[in-house]
Subunit: 131 residues, 2 copies
DNA sequence: CCAACTATTCTATATATGTCAATACATATT
DNA sequence: AATATGTATTGACATATATAGAATAGTTGG
């Protein structure tokens, strides 16, 4: 019995708005690439930046894992931060040139997705309001 | 090493455009609900309708499985088609009232997603073109 | 009978996601 | 000095999802 991705939209009073949809999580990867293309930074600040994009419910460990995965894929690279700051050493990520290529292909796909969603909403509204 | 969802955008000459992105697949569920809200139908025709929405690369078995999952969740119900047609018996799916509720919450989320993507694209373009 | 098209299901395997706990350093509080 | 709080990242486990290909089956036309 499916419960998380498939089945997301069922959440009622309990979690709606608390728990993210499958669409949101699928946008995490490009979101991180976009943020890193602005300037190199570490996971913790990315976590905060994601909020400003509307991705409020993503668990930190998911973000960190995604970063590690993208580093494995060589889309990003990290170095330990040299200057001491408040807290343990932190990993500063930056885009590689391959990462830049990947980002442009993602931007393309974001536009496709935008189209798809527009089509879907148009089709859904054609029935109800129609106004 | 991740390859499918995470890592999708790496595909170059080989698959780009042939293989769908994680975003696309995450839109399958609402797409099916929207299509079924227009009128009850079976998987095979849904397969064709999805193309018109821009979801050209989704494997039939993924669509059928999603339909079965959504039936388990009681968002849709199926009956075997009574009138004989070309081919084996087919399962006609229709939305339940719970399915209608779920659809509206999905429509909401589609709008959120639209916003997020818009934000992301705006932010990405602020750096490059800017024009 | 065989090919081609319509239609759906099953199974194996690969990946992704959610969640929780653990680790660790720095600074401020009691 | 012990403790709490905030910053920062990692690991491990269970479960959910995705992908592809093969299997099954009825219908129509040659």
């Amino acid at each position: 019995m499916p419960r998380h991705r498939r089945g997301w939209a069922m959440g009622r009073e309990n979690n709606m708005g608390e728990r993210h949809s499958p669409v949101t999580i699928s946008l995490l990867e490009p979101a991180l690439l976009i943020l890193l293309s602005e300037h190199p930074q570490h996971g913790y600040t990315l976590l905060a930046e994601l909020q400003t994009l509307g991705m409020r419910t993503i668990h930190p460990s998911v973000v960190y894992r995604t970063l590690r995965d993208m580093e494995l894929l060589e889309w990003i690279q990290s170095d330990w931060d040299t200057d001491q700051t408040q807290g343990p050493p932190r990993r500063i990520y930056r885009l590689t040139s391959q990462g830049e290529f990947v980002l442009t292909s993602w931007l393309n796909e974001l536009e496709n997705s935008q189209e798809m969603i527009k089509n879907m909403l148009a089709r859904a509204n054609r029935q109800n309001g129609e106004k």
